[in-house]
């Protein structure tokens, strides 16, 4: 068992690498660039901005830099000389800085000196130096765990953005999942046990209604009814726990409507799948055997029927769970939740290359983990799979 899990975990690395590679080249091929705007800039400005983010390099090199294999130039400064000036004092605290002289295309490394530019010019009597670039070479990329700076949210790194926004999506996702599992499995199981009675039709009709009402209809509907007409819950927002809450205990009530919107939608799917799976299992021989053995109905249902019947639900839940906890764009937009889900879509529409890659890799890791958990869970639910 542990060997199996270990093997799967090792497999994560090539899979993530493949995803990173495909995504990297995909976003670069898409039309539009991260810096374009309604008000156009001149080509020079665009080129300089691109150069600032290292996008003037050939694509393969940018790829290697992104992976963290090749070093990139950071903290680049350009020292320019006015005509007639032949030396300039320039102080830098940066150790390990590299110096590039444009006129001669010569690259020199000088270390641990705060006045080295002046010294460099003393030592080199090269004439016609007009420009000197000073930068530090640094490897920081995927291998170092750095996802890079966001192009859109200036001054924020992709790591920061994910760190800030994921907990919010996770919190909401867990509530929704609890609602979905509780309502879905209960309704599905009852419907299967009471097939073709009112107890089957009623919950299944609700489930169908839940499927027919997509979240962008359900959300505003709940907001209208419970937020604006009945005034039970706030219509949107995301307040802190224990802070200026809406409930006496500091329990933030703004979680209720988004969690229900998302929860009901998945509950409907879970209910349908559970019912189907249960029906399948209930007609199998071992259930008849179990009943014949005289086991109580509860035991038959919970221990045997539910275990087998949940198989399709569990297969569905792996990816669905990853989707829920990494946030839903629609829900987070309707309820203005500062979660991760918005970044998935907004990063793509903004062509924020690093943020797209960062969110995709993060989501990929979630998917891989959850599909692994699901495979283990399936083995536990079904002895026949376990044997393999």
């Amino acid at each position: 068992m542990f060997r199996y899990i270990f093997k799967r975990l090792i497999f994560f690395i090539p899979v993530l690498w493949v995803i990173a590679t495909i995504t990297f080249f995909m976003v670069r091929m898409a039309p539009g660039d991260p810096f374009s705007d309604e008000k156009e800039m001149t080509e020079e400005v665009r080129d300089r901005i691109k150069a600032y983010y290292g996008m003037d390099q050939p694509l393969w090199k940018q790829y290697l830099i992104y992976l963290g294999v090749t070093a990139k130039e950071v903290n680049k400064h350009r020292v320019t000389f006015a005509s007639g000036e032949d030396s300039k004092e320039y102080r830098r605290e940066d150790v390990n800085a590299t110096l590039r002289v444009t006129a001669t295309a010569e690259v020199k490394t000088m270390q641990g000196d705060t006045q080295w530019l002046a010294r460099f010019l003393d030592q080199n009597t090269t004439t016609n130096i007009s420009e000197v670039e000073v930068f530090r070479l640094e490897r920081s990329g995927l291998l170092q765990g750095e996802l890079g700076p966001s192009f859109k949210h200036k001054g924020k790194s992709v790591n920061d953005i994910i760190r800030e926004s994921f907990p919010k999506s996770l919190e909401l996702g867990l509530y929704s999942m609890a609602i979905a599992l509780f309502l879905g499995i209960t309704a599905g199981a009852i419907a299967a046990l009471k097939q073709n009675t009112i107890l089957d039709y009623a919950p299944m009709s609700f489930a169908m209604a839940g499927i027919c009402l997509p979240t962008f209809v359900m959300g505003p509907l709940l907001v209208l009814v419970f937020g604006l007409w009945l005034e039970w819950f706030p219509v949107a927002g995301w307040s802190a726990w224990g802070g200026e809450g809406f409930f006496p205990e500091g329990w933030p009530g703004d979680r209720v409507l988004p969690a229900c919107t998302l929860g009901f939608f998945y509950a409907a799917m879970v209910a349908r799948l559970t019912r189907g799976g249960m029906l399948e299992t209930l007609s199998q021989d071992f259930i008849k055997t179990a009943r014949a053995k005289g086991l109580t109905e509860t035991r038959v249902v919970v221990k045997h029927a539910l275990r087998g019947g949940l198989l399709p639900t569990v297969s569905f839940l792996g990816p669905a769970f990853a989707g829920i906890i990494s946030g839903s764009f629609v829900i987070e937009t309707i309820f203005t939740i500062p979660g991760l889900g918005r970044h998935f879509i907004e990063a793509a529409t903004n062509r924020d290359y690093t943020l797209v890659l960062g969110t995709v890799l993060f989501y990929a890791t979630l998917i891989l983990m959850l599909n692994l958990i699901v495979d283990i869970l399936q083995a536990w639910l079904n002895p026949r799979i376990r044997a393999q």
Binding site: F11, V15, V18, I19, I22, T23, M26, V27, M29, A30, P31, M208, A209, I211, C212, L213, P214, F216, V217, P220, L221, L224, M269, R272, L273, R275, G276, G277, L279, E280, S283, Q284, G308, L311, P312, V314, S315, F316, G318, P319, A320, A322, F344, I345, A348, T349, V356, V360, L361, A364, I367, L368, N371, V374, Q378, N382, R384, I385, A387, Q388
Partner: protein, 331 residues
């Protein structure tokens, strides 16, 4: 293709299964209701628009957002033929002379008009064409790929399974939006692309469900018996395992149809999908949702058609599952 394989099933498991299934299907009242309702919706979508007095394209701005069954009394300016309004109180906005009543148009808008004064009924029926086509084509694509992929992965297991399932993981993670934009750039605006783009994402979960079911089933006695009889692997997968997977597959398929129809509205947002003034249920519902407080009928009617279709599909799906269940035939 699928039908042929089901025919094989019949040959393997007894001559009366197919006939039995049909009999059982037609005994199921809900399934029959579903079939009728679904046929009606399809018929209305494809034939209905030509029977209506209005088309879905003609914009009539002054007559915008009228509730269902509103009257249509038009007034025109005697000097400017393009000035027509629907209120007696107003004068011509060019020359400010009083308006004169125009010939009354007898036909009312059955479902009211949308925000640009177009007939909603025509739009809903028209939208059905696109939605049904997308719903079926894309679902079929995802069904075929998903079932084959999952069944092969589940049955062979080991390295094959690892390889196939990791591809699924990769595809789950790729950014869909960028993918669609790239497709558009490479192939231009193309309706076939729509099926491909949607099918591309929707088969993944199906394959995982099928894989799990196959893994659970493949060590059961009837499979062992087939192996002992020396049948080929493909034959075992498609003739022996697949019929036993029908339950979850049908259910997940009925869940895929709405997802696909709604995904189409997202693609329309990106410029793939239908282009205005053509429309689809997904697009209509999305637009309706934005004004549900002030113009509820704009949401209500498309949503009603959408739901009716899904409900009936669902009943048909349940009926089919019960009818085709190889285990229940043993009872």
């Amino acid at each position: 293709m699928k039908r042929d394989r089901l025919a094989d099933v019949k040959f393997d498991e007894g001559t009366s299964l197919w006939k039995d299934a049909r009999r059982r299907l037609f005994q199921n009242k809900m399934a029959v209701f579903g079939l009728c309702a679904f046929s009606l919706v399809t018929l209305l979508s494809f034939v209905g628009p030509s029977l209506l007095p209005y088309d879905h394209e003609t914009i009539d701005l002054p007559y915008q957002a009228r509730p269902p069954l509103s009257d249509k009394h038009s007034f025109v300016c005697p000097n400017h033929d393009y000035v027509h309004l629907y209120s007696v109180d107003e004068n011509c906005y060019v020359c400010n002379t009083p308006l004169e009543p125009a010939a009354i148009q007898p036909a009312r808008h059955l479902m009211g008009t949308d925000k640009l004064g177009r007939d909603l009924c025509a739009a809903v029926l028209r939208g059905g064409r696109v939605s049904l086509a997308v719903g079926f084509m894309a679902t079929a694509v995802s069904l075929v790929i998903g079932v084959i992929w999952g069944a092969v992965a589940g049955y062979f297991g080991g390295r094959v399974d690892q390889f196939l399932m990791r591809i699924v993981d990769v595809l789950y993670a790729l950014p869909f939006l960028i993918f669609v934009v790239l497709l558009m750039v490479m192939f231009g605006r193309n309706f076939l692309l729509l099926f491909f783009a949607i099918g591309f994402v929707e088969w993944l979960t199906m394959s995982r469900i099928v894989r799990a079911q196959v893994m659970a089933l493949k060590n059961q006695e009837f499979v062992e018996a087939a192996v002992a009889l020396g049948y080929g692997r493909m034959r075992i997968i498609f003739c022996h395992l697949l019929p036993n997977l029908l339950g979850p597959v049908i259910i997940y398929t009925t869940l895929t149809v709405p997802a696909v129809m709604l995904l189409e509205s997202v693609l329309s947002f990106l410029g793939l999908g239908v282009q205005a003034p053509d429309t689809s249920w997904g697009v209509l519902i999305k637009q309706g949702a934005e004004g549900m407080e002030d113009y509820p009928w704009l949401l209500l009617f498309p949503a009603a058609f959408f739901s009716l279709t899904l409900f009936s599909l669902n009943f048909i799906g349940d009926g089919l599952r019960d009818a085709l269940d190889p285990k229940s035939s043993k009872d």
